[in-house]
C-alpha cells in the first residue's frame, strides 16, 4: 500500500463529525497587493467587474458569471495595452494591403457586411496571462486571477473571404492585424500577426457582434479579429488595418513579447515566428474551472452537493472531465453538458455527499480530444502564460 492509498483509506473510514485531514497543499493565491487593489468597479457598458488597473482599463470577470454557457457582454473581461480608442462607425475603415496582397482594399462596415457572407463561431476568448497572478513564484504583469476569459458567439465575416477578395500573392507569409488604439509615448504599437493557415481558417473572423449584440466599446467595437483556439492577444480589437507580409513581422509584441521558451508547451504552429530560444504563445491549453458552489458557502454533511464547472481547450474539444475528492488518488467522471462547438467551453457537473465535517478539497481535471490533459504542477515561465494546473478548491463542510 502506498502512502497515498493509506491516507485515503484512513480518511475513508472516519465517522461523521470528525475532521477530514488536508490531503493537498493550498492553492497559490494572488499577490497581497493584487487582492487589496482588485476592487469591484464598473466602467461604461459593464456591470461591476474586478478592477486590475484603471488605466489602461484591465477588468476581470468574477468566476460566478461563468455559470452561464455564454458570458454576457456586460460582464465580459476587458484588457487593453493602451487607452480605449474612440471609433465612430461612420468613420471606421478597414484597410487591407501589403506585399502579400494583389489589390489593396479599403472597406466600410456596410461594404463588408454587404459583400461577404456572415459567419459565426462559439469560442472561448482567453487572455494569454489568465491566472498569471497564481504563479509561484509570482511574475510581474497584470495579476489576473481566473477571470481573464469568457465564452461568446462571435459573428462577422470570414477573414479568409476578405483576404481572398484582395487577392493573395504567392509569397504571402503572415497577416498583421492592427487596431485603432494608439501607443503611449514612444512605446511599440500593439500589432499581431497570424500565419496564413490560421488567417485562412474558415473559423477565423472579423467579428462585429458577440452574443447577438454589437461588440462593447471595451471589447473592440466596431470590429475585432476572432482567432478561435488561440489566446486573445491575436484577437485584435478595434481592428483598422491588415497587412499581408512576405516576411516574418518583427513588431515588439510578436518578436519580444508574448513568447514562451521553445518546446516548453509543444510546437507553436507558427514556424515563421519561432526562434532558437522561444516561440510565440499560440493555442490555449486544456483547462477546467469550478464555478459553483461559491467557495465561501458551507456544505452540509450527508447532503447532496453538486459541483459545477467548465472545461475547454484550443479547439480539439473536451472528451472528458474527472473529479477527485481524496487529493487525487481516485478520479471519477463528471457529467458533461451539451457540446456548443469545439472552440466553446463545455459545462460539467459532479454530485456527491460530503461524509465528514472539515475541509473538503475538490480537484478537477479535463481531457481534450487531442489526448492532452492538465498539469499537476505549474510549468513556470517568465511571462506567466498557460497556467492550467489542476485546480484544488476547498469547501468547508459543517
Amino acid at each position: 500500500m502506498d502512502r497515498r492509498r493509506f491516507l485515503l483509506n484512513s480518511t475513508g473510514t472516519i465517522a461523521g463529525g470528525l475532521l477530514i485531514p488536508r490531503l493537498v497543499a493550498a492553492e497559490e493565491t494572488l499577490p497581497a497587493g493584487a487582492v487589496s487593489s482588485g476592487i469591484l468597479d464598473a466602467i461604461p457598458g459593464k456591470r461591476p467587474l474586478i478592477k486590475r488597473s484603471y488605466r489602461p482599463p484591465n477588468y476581470e470577470t468574477p468566476v460566478s458569471v461563468f455559470r452561464e454557457e455564454y458570458t454576457p457582454n456586460d460582464a465580459f473581461y476587458v484588457r487593453w495595452h493602451s487607452g480605449l480608442p474612440e471609433v465612430s462607425l461612420a468613420d471606421w475603415r478597414l484597410r487591407i494591403a501589403g506585399p502579400g496582397v494583389q489589390r489593396p482594399r479599403e472597406f466600410t462596415h456596410d461594404d463588408l457586411t454587404r459583400r461577404f457572407k456572415m459567419a459565426q463561431v462559439a469560442a472561448v476568448n482567453q487572455c494569454s496571462g489568465n491566472r498569471r497572478g497564481l504563479f509561484s513564484p509570482h511574475v510581474p504583469g497584470v495579476q489576473w486571477g481566473y477571470g481573464a476569459m469568457g465564452n461568446a458567439i462571435w459573428r462577422g465575416v470570414r477573414l479568409k473571404d476578405v483576404l481572398e477578395d484582395a487577392g493573395l500573392t504567392g509569397n504571402a507569409l503572415e497577416v498583421v492585424g492592427n487596431g485603432a488604439d494608439a501607443p503611449m509615448l514612444t512605446s511599440p504599437d500593439f500589432a499581431k500577426s497570424l500565419p496564413m493557415w490560421k488567417a485562412l481558417d474558415p473559423d477565423t473572423l472579423i467579428a462585429f457582434e458577440m452574443n447577438d449584440a454589437p461588440l462593447p466599446v471595451s471589447n473592440g467595437f466596431p470590429a475585432r479579429l476572432v482567432v478561435p483556439g488561440w489566446t486573445a492577444t491575436y484577437w485584435i480589437k478595434a481592428l483598422a488595418d491588415l497587412q499581408v507580409t512576405d516576411k516574418a513581422f518583427d513588431g515588439f509584441w510578436m518578436k519580444t513579447a508574448y513568447r514562451v521558451p521553445k518546446g516548453m508547451f509543444g510546437v507553436s504552429g507558427f514556424e515563421s515566428q519561432d526562434t532558437e530560444q522561444n516561440s510565440p504563445i499560440t493555442s490555449i491549453k486544456v483547462n477546467s474551472l469550478v464555478v459553483s458552489p461559491d467557495p465561501g458557502a458551507p456544505l452540509a454533511v450527508g447532503r447532496r452537493t453538486e459541483v459545477m464547472g467548465i472545461a475547454w481547450d484550443g479547439g480539439s474539444g473536451i472528451s472528458g472531465v474527472e473529479v477527485s475528492l481524496d487529493g487525487g488518488a481516485k478520479w471519477r467522471a463528471a457529467k458533461l453538458g451539451r457540446d456548443l462547438g469545439r472552440y466553446s467551453w463545455r459545462q460539467w457537473r459532479y454530485a456527491f455527499k460530503p461524509r465528514a465535517s472539515g475541509v473538503q478539497t475538490v480537484m478537477v481535471r479535463a481531457f481534450a480530444r487531442d489526448g492532452s490533459t492538465q498539469v499537476d504542477k505549474l510549468v513556470h515561465n517568465p511571462a506567466g502564460y498557460h497556467h492550467n494546473v489542476v485546480q484544488k478548491v476547498d469547501f468547508h463542510v459543517a
Binding site: S37, T113, P140, L185, S187, L215
Partner: protein, 102 residues
C-alpha cells in the same frame, strides 16, 4: 446591413459611448509616503494608473523592480532620467518590494 433595427440602434448607442472616456477613479489610489513618491507619481502616472505598482507587490526585490523600470524606459519610452530611475527603484523596493511586508 444589420439584421434588425434593435442591433442597429445598439450599434449607434455603442458609437456614442465610444466618445466618452472610461471613468477613472485612479485618483483614489494611495501610494505609501516616502522619499521618491513624487517621482513615482510624476513618471509612472504618465502612462498608467499606479495600481500596476500595487498589484505587483510585494514579491519583487530591487533587481526585479529595476528590470521593470528599465523596460518602461527602454521599451515603452518613459521619459525618466537615470537619476530618477534610481530613486524610483529604491522607493518601489522599500515600499512595494519582497521584504516590505506590505
Amino acid at each position: 446591413m444589420w439584421r434588425d433595427s434593435r442591433v442597429a440602434a445598439a450599434f449607434i448607442a455603442a458609437t456614442l459611448l465610444a466618445a466618452v472616456p472610461v471613468r477613472a477613479d485612479e485618483s483614489a489610489l494611495v501610494l505609501a509616503d516616502g522619499d521618491g513618491v513624487g517621482q513615482v507619481k510624476a513618471s509612472c502616472s504618465i502612462c498608467h494608473s499606479v495600481d500596476y505598482i500595487l498589484m505587483n507587490s510585494p514579491f519583487q526585490d530591487a533587481t526585479g523592480w529595476d528590470k521593470t523600470v528599465t523596460k518602461m524606459v527602454k521599451v515603452m519610452g518613459a521619459p525618466i532620467t537615470p537619476e530618477d530611475s534610481k530613486i524610483i527603484v529604491a522607493y518601489l523596493a522599500k515600499h512595494y518590494g519582497k521584504d516590505s511586508g506590505g
